[in-house]
């Protein structure tokens, strides 16, 4: 088992290098340069000044050499400095050690997505299972309609509606941001509630939108399992229905969900670009979007590399999960 893990981890390295190489070339293929924001259509800048700037950022060198320079730094785990005018190290931008943990971009996005993810699983699994056991009943139809409404509703629009209702009309919840202006003056419990109240709407909206996928997946997986022979056998033996469904069928129906969880790991870091913008949440999604628009190569590459690493780890975790859950796969290794 351990030998297998080590082997898998080593196999990840060339894949990761491949991912970064392709990403690097693709962002350089897009027209425009990081210096454009400073120089385009600005009558106060001359072509010489532009060249000076490009030289400063090594943009005058061929892409492959730029990639080499980048890779050389990465080996030392140095992601470089952002090309935006703040010139901060990119790692500091996503994980600023001077900030409290709760205010670091990576942490904010990870936390919001993990909570959302947990809520989605906690709600969609029961919905899926009960929809499957009551297939085609009125309950099944209502649930299906509800989750699809959540899926179909444009999240930014729904967000604005809820902000208007809870934030402006009722005044119960804050409209946007992560904490209130008077946060520092609050006692500990007040601070906790302040943070939580800012997260209720964004988490509710992304969880509501994400229910459809997992619950439908669970429903069909469950439907497939209850038709299996061993379920029939269990029923024929006279086991109570509850035990058949929750002890025998459910465990097997959950297996495919492991893949789904593995696949959603990279999403944890990207977060939701739209919701982070609408709610003014300073997370990774927002940063990634801004970096792409300004062609901030080091920043984009840093986020893509971390994302690539997480995708590979997610795959590995899913495989391990399978091995732990399914003796048949364990036997093959």
């Amino acid at each position: 088992m351990i030998a297998y893990l080590i082997k898998r981890l080593f196999e990840m390295i060339p894949t990761l290098v491949g991912i970064t190489l392709i990403s690097f070339f693709i962002i350089h293929l897009a027209p425009g340069k990081p210096t454009d924001i400073l120089t385009e259509l600005n009558p106060k800048i001359t072509p010489e000044a532009r060249e000076r700037l490009e030289k400063l950022y090594n943009l005058d060198k061929p892409v492959i050499i730029q990639y080499g320079l980048w890779l050389k730094r990465i080996v030392k785990l140095d992601f470089g400095e952002s090309f935006s005018t703040d010139r901060r190290p990119v790692m500091q931008k996503i994980w600023d050690k001077k900030q409290s943990l709760l205010d670091r971009r990576l942490f904010i996005t990870l936390m919001i997505n993990l909570i959302t993810f947990a809520i989605i699983l906690a709600i969609s699994i029961p919905i899926g299972v009960s929809s499957a056991t009551h297939q085609n009943s009125l309950y099944d139809k209502i649930m299906t309609t509800t989750v699809f409404i959540g899926f179909a509703m444009p999240s930014f629009w729904f967000a604005l509606l809820l902000m208007m209702f809870f934030g402006v009309y009722l005044g119960w919840l804050p409209v946007s941001g992560l904490k209130s202006l008077n946060y520092d003056a609050l006692p500990l419990l007040g601070k906790m509630w302040d943070r939580i109240s800012h997260l209720i709407l964004p988490i509710f909206i992304s969880a509501f939108g994400g229910l459809a996928g997992d619950s439908r997946f669970m429903r069909s997986s469950m439907l497939e399992v209850v038709r299996q022979d061993y379920v029939t056998v269990a029923r024929a033996k006279g086991l109570p229905d509850k035990k058949v469904i929750y002890q025998h069928a459910l465990r097997n129906a959950l297996l495919p969900l492991i893949t789904l969880i593995g696949l959603s790991v990279p999403g944890l870091i990207g977060g939701s670009v739209i919701l982070e913008s609408v709610f003014g949440i300073p997370g990774m999604g927002q940063l990634f979007f801004m970096s792409v628009m300004t062609r901030d190569y080091p920043m984009v590459m840093c986020i893509l590399t971390i994302g690539g690493m997480l995708t590979l780890l997610g795959n590995l975790l899913a495989d391990i999960g399978y091995m732990l859950a399914d003796p048949r796969i364990r036997a093959k290794q």
Binding site: V175, W193, G280
Partner: protein
Amino acid sequence: MTKRAFLFLLSLLIAVNIMGCKEKPAATIKTISENNSNEPAYGDALIVGSIGEPSNLIYMLASDSASHDIAGLMFSGLVKYHTDLSVIGDLAESWDISKDGLVITFHLRKGVKWADGVEFTADDVKFGYDTIVNEKTPTAYKEDFLQVKKAEVLNKYTFRVTYGKPFAPALTSWSGIVVLPKHLLEGKDITKSEFTRNPVGLGPYKLKRWTPGQELILDSYREYFEGRPYIDRYVYRLIPDLSTMFLELKAGSIDMMGLTPIQYTKQTNTDFFKNNFQKFRYPQFAYTYMGFNLKHPFFQDKRVRQAIAYAIDKSELIDVVLFGLGSPATGPYVPNTWPYNPNVKKYEYNPGKAKELLKEAGWEDTDGDGLLDKDGIPFRFTIFTNMGNTLRKNAATIIQWRLAKVGIKVEIRALEWSTFINEFIDKKRFEAVILGWSIGLDPDQYDIWHSSKTKEKEFNFISYSNPEVDELLEKGRRTFNMKERKKAYFRIQEILAEELPYLFLYVPDATPVVHARFKGIKPAPIGITYNLPKWYAPQKMQKHKVEP
């Protein structure tokens, strides 16, 4: 067991809830009133909403308006613009300009202190100048300062610059924020210094805290050389979405923002708004235009360009696109500023005249398909604009509809900014564009209209060339005689209005809104924030209690 745990959690939540609710109003709202008048009073906080986050608080290193907003509160220039656009002293008390216009001597204010207590002197000006012209400083504002031949410190409070050639924008270029504290930055690489995120300034406000992605908090600088600002705290809240920001305004969490045209005209006329907010409206220093590629065979004939001007109704554009919040542009200057010439040729909406002119130029519908043609080529072209700017896209759509009525078929393409500039503007691969210029307060527009500025990456990308305009542009930037300058720029506008290399569309209005408790706001052509240190909230209306 589980039930008990649940009950515990529930009670905890309720406790948190109650504590939160109890604490909130007490901490934010000051209810006691000691003074009943509307007299200026110190205190309170102004919370401003912004969609962008500053990137760098050293003015010359940043190029985004958010950075400039904040840096502008923390630093000052040597001179500044008065409300009527004349130049008055800021850090300089007075200045002398030599007869030939080549030498400017600034006499600086005495006793001005940086926020760390060190006195501001001419060395700081020289240091800032040396920094901006330094090869290694990545700045977009170098050019005006490269015209300086010699900069010298005569004594602690006197600074002199000598120019090689007369340069009319010379004096106003020192309104730019060049001054930097030498004692803190000398010998350091300023692009990497801590100073970019936590600077020491000498303006009315100083940075207290910057929480990336969330807010910047600035406290008033009590030793500010023009007197302590009334408002104790300035909070710059980052909200990337304009609809969200508007909801925050309604919920009372922010005090000031720029309204969109639809918010200004349709969503802020309720009693709630009239009682709680004050709206302002004045022309921005910017205009939107449709530029023709003058190398394209369709647009080489002046009559065609004039015909298009007659076919488009500018007031309709303003009514539909800006909800009436703008004024028609007739040239590259803003109405009611000194270089603006009101008496140039105007093109009233007149499709009949448009068709006539097109016919004169040889464009006629000979095959009866509804499209004009000439030598078998139908009149069909594409208007390019940048993606994400709905106002420009809407303007293009209306122009498309109006031109269809005179028999010209227009396509619209919106492109992502970098692609648009690099692939289409720079390579001159376009027929017409809709774009805008922000204009400085100095009327020099050499780079936009001079025929030598047509190379790739330069700004005369429509390839406009007129020897008389070239000469006038040169004259305008080389004389200090205001009358002469005015004459030159008036004539340029006449020529541009006749030849129409651009079809000038509109000057949009700025429409900020500020909470009603703030008094002392005096709208002027340069906006409302120029006298921010003099804004105040009367004692009884103050909302936030600021603890230092």
